[in-house]
Point group: C2
Chain length 431, copies 2
């Protein structure tokens, strides 16, 4: 099946907003095994829209629209597509009552214009919108071409896609689709080289998406039943996990902080953070997770050297001797955070996020990471400058991700590559 | 002038990446007074590309391409567009030497395929790429139609747009363009109602972009000379500032934290933060700004009640009596941060970011904000739930923005709407 995506909206043509709907729909269609050869954006202009629909219908089996379902007079997408598919529209009393009720909930009354939002296909079908006023529409012609019309608001569009359009397309393709997202620490190229053969498979498919310091591997299985698709998906994810080892940290989570909070909660552990170069980013990531208060109570942002001494008890002589950006100071910060908070685990970061501040032998991107618990400590040096490209934000994000990974590894008792282990009280070496 | 944007790339059709290039180019063209009626995405397929180019050229004066300039055999955008514009390509030795040198810098050698990247228009002109290997191209036909070909990598594309294409288009339109971005605290609707007439103007134009808790107003002036455009832009920005007052906080900055760091530095002030519900976000925003260490040394993330007592000296009796989410505790946190850090200014936040944890009379979205300096304190309660829509991330972001605004207002001696002023030692009221 070949599809095109048509997004309708002046705000897209003016560059007021970025077109995330096209990305979402493209990825979903790819997972369904549908080939997308064109994406378009047009304004609310019936002539241009009509010309585009005719042309797209001539070369593609499925047209997916977002936007253009609003109440104003220029919103003529539904009328235009109905005509192209030889269908007409009728007023739907039930949809109208939903619109009236929707307005009533927010203390307003619908206008006469809103009545056109209650128009639905006569031969095609309406697509209910549980999150907004405008229902979507599905049109089909005798030749088997189809069109799905969805609202432009991403939240409404995504919900209607998942609830209505995707099942329709699965039925057309006689299959069920299940996707899982494996999250893996490390860059796309290092990961892809290890698991390249698994990306060649036609079913389940796998795609890799690169993020800062980590990657997502999205596995999608198609099968006759949901249970088979689910099983195929799980089996393929397990193959990835086996090859990638403990760098594959979780499945279907928004990010590493969620995994860390879950692991700490499961083990009844409390963590504390001591941050210099990341300036609160690790604490912020942990507390983004609902329920973080069960596992995190104390975060120290010791951006000044004096703060490291005053809040974490770092010996000023250590700072004088090794500099604040050093392994001994990172280790002392982690131990100090443990003592000052009473937590069972701690992580500490001190480094050079740039753009200025490079030291002899310590270029921008040099970051020291330490962790401590009652039994031991770990400390390591990281070079986070990406082959000469030094971006303050990226260095901070990557450093924070490593700190979260260290918390994960301490909670699970896993080793951390490149880290030196310290016994309680043992001074950290220069690294 | 009417333009269309054509983005070439399979990764866009698969939904691997979001099309930020289309947004950037649309906005730039709008500022130049060029009307964009269509955006397209196509793959690296010469037939489909040729059909699209013919069609687009038939209805638009200018085609702007991004992507498709890579070294692989399917990257045929340059050849296809050259043909449509009656031009041919020649091998450019100088561009080839740049490519060779670029590879040498990263320790690699170019392949034979890279030679096609050194092909440039015979009649049109090449667009130099200072940030990557592939030069862009500019084609023109006798009828005055033009095409600009830019790489798909956003950093390269944006630089080449600013350095080459934009000046060419300004010259075509006999004008110079200057834009300035005014940043304003508050929502789009409350701002737009105050300054609506200024958005009607044809030159300078103004557009408003809504962000979390604030908006950007982008003013664009067109004039015969750069100095005139600059002056018209400044004058219009001043009109906006006059109407919007101190909610318009700065011009051409990435965000409020940059303004706060600059103001604190100018005044020789040090700030400290004490955060509960935002969990380090305020500290993180401040330290994102290069040079923040001059004005920020201490951040306290006191997520647990005990941390508020242990690190900030908040009286446990106060917590028992009023709850940790209360004005008296926020005020005590701000005072405690001042004492524990030696800073001249402090801000503190305690609130309910959700999703759980609502208290009687304190729904999710209730956040208490306090500030302190040696002479006085301020405290206020905020309802950040956006009419029933409670998003943990949005509540935290809005709370952090208010905290930064309080720092700004304390540094400038401006009042904060809704805040109660406290004398040193005066207990904070329940709010």
């Amino acid at each position: 099946m070949v599809a095109e995506i048509i997004c309708v909206g002046t705000e897209l043509l003016l560059g007021d907003i970025v077109n995330t709907n096209a990305q979402f729909l493209s990825r979903e269609l790819a997972e369904l095994g549908v080939t997308v050869l064109h994406q378009h954006v047009v304004g609310d202009n019936p002539d241009r829209l009509r010309a585009l629909v005719q042309e797209a219908k001539g070369r593609s089996d499925l047209l997916v629209f977002s936007g253009g379902l609003g109440p104003t007079a220029d919103d003529l997408t539904k009328e235009t597509v109905a005509q192209a598919f030889g269908d007409t529209l009728r007023f739907d009393e039930a949809e109208w009552q939903k619109i009236v009720a929707f307005f009533a909930r927010t203390g307003r009354a619908p206008t006469q214009n809103n009545r056109k939002q209650a128009m639905v296909p006569v031969r095609g079908r309406k697509l209910p919108n549980a999150h907004g006023t405008a229902p979507g529409a599905w049109f089909e012609d005798e030749a088997g071409h189809a069109a799905a019309l969805l609202p432009g608001v991403p939240r409404e569009m995504k919900a209607m896609w998942a609830e209505d359009v995707r099942p329709l397309l699965e039925a057309r393709q006689n299959c069920t689709i299940r996707s899982m997202t494996l999250r893996v620490l490390g860059g796309e190229s290092s990961i892809a080289s290890k698991v390249a053969p698994l990306f060649e498979s036609a079913n389940p498919t796998a795609a890799i998406y690169c993020k800062v310091g980590e990657s997502e591997i999205r596995v999608t299985a198609r099968a006759a039943t949901a249970a088979e698709a689910e099983a195929a998906c799980r089996a393929r994810v397990a193959e990835f996990q086996k090859i990638l080892g403990d760098s594959a940290y979780d499945v279907d989570v928004p990010g590493l902080a969620h995994t860390v909070v879950r692991l700490l909660r499961e083990r009844g552990l409390q963590a504390a953070t001591a941050e210099s170069c990341t300036g609160g980013l690790v604490a912020q990531l942990l507390t983004e997770v609902p329920g973080a208060s069960e596992v995190f109570g104390y975060g120290f942002v010791t951006y000044a050297a004096a703060a490291k001494t005053r809040l974490l008890g770092v010996d000023p002589a250590l700072i004088d001797r090794y500099n604040v950006v050093s392994a001994p100071v990172a280790a002392a910060m982690a131990r100090g955070a443990l003592a000052a908070s009473g937590a069972g685990l701690s992580v500490a970061l001190t480094g050079l996020a740039g753009p200025g501040g490079a030291l002899p032998g310590k270029p921008v991107g040099t970051v020291y990471l330490a962790g401590a618990d009652a039994r031991s400590g770990r400390v390591q040096v990281m070079r986070l400058d990406l082959g000469g490209y030094r971006d303050r934000g990226v260095i901070r994000q990557r450093a924070a991700l490593y700190a979260l990974d260290l918390l994960r590894r301490m909670a699970l008792g896993l080793p951390m590559e490149g880290a030196v282990t310290l016994k309680p009280g043992q001074p950290a070496p220069e690294l």
